[in-house]
Subunit: 149 residues, 2 copies
């Protein structure tokens, strides 16, 4: 089910969703953040048919979000790792995570937390902030349309 | 095309995507943030078939992200507005927006900016921060699996 491409849409939210607005693609990125690298690992985690997973992984590589690298054990298979652009999706995943925890707390207790690598301490929640750094609420924010010349 | 429900998945990212992981649903939420309220306004903005838009709006209402209110002009039609849970999606949209601007700058110049309602000044970018408030990069963060008893 492919729809109109929005890759060159005016709205950057639409451009992002064009690339990672597929439910499975973001879950693959999530799994890559938690250290999965092999096709078989993604397949086991997501319970996804091989052909669908193949298409999603190819798409993520084509869009520069993941890249193929030689297997870390020196074997014949390759592995999938996040590129810089892929790692830059962390705020998107973190925002989705916060919203999921706040709005759908009836899931099982979640089995992971995001920590700073160096200190092992949990990172802060994402916060909306005004230009001068004050924390603000979603209700304090509005989208202003900018007239283009 | 409905897939396994992840509403009660362990992972809060999966729970969120179960609800708003549909490309159109997040674009409807985006449009609601920029002030659209009527069925016809969403239809015009998204270029979406009536039946598909109807299903998406019903889903957003059923999930408590939008609600139906009487039309602001006192007419017979109703309008769709974001609930608190819907407004709480702003960090998700903002994270997608930032990523879209950074990674796909070849879209047309975007036609909007997010400003603080009271001051009219642009809000800050979302930032990853350590527990003590230091800004950190995605590469500094890791996902730690928590053993559940």
């Amino acid at each position: 089910m492919r729809r109109t491409s929005l890759k060159t849409a005016n709205c950057p939210v639409a451009r992002s969703l064009d690339v990672i607005g597929d439910w499975w693609s973001l879950l693959i990125v999530r799994d890559a953040f938690r250290g999965l690298r092999r096709f078989s690992q993604f397949q086991k985690s997501l319970g996804l048919a091989r052909n669908i997973l193949t298409v999603r992984l190819r798409g993520l590589v084509a869009d520069g979000i993941m890249e193929l690298v030689p297997a870390s054990d020196g074997g014949a298979r390759h592995e999938y790792v996040l590129t810089g652009k892929g790692r830059d999706l962390l705020p998107v995943l973190l925002a989705l995570r916060q919203w999921g925890i706040a709005c759908f707390p009836d899931g099982a207790p979640w089995g992971s937390e995001l920590v700073e690598r160096e200190t092992g301490r949990p990172i802060r929640k994402l916060e909306l902030r005004a230009e001068d750094g004050r924390p603000i609420m979603p209700a304090d924010v509005e989208l202003r349309v900018v007239q283009t010349p």
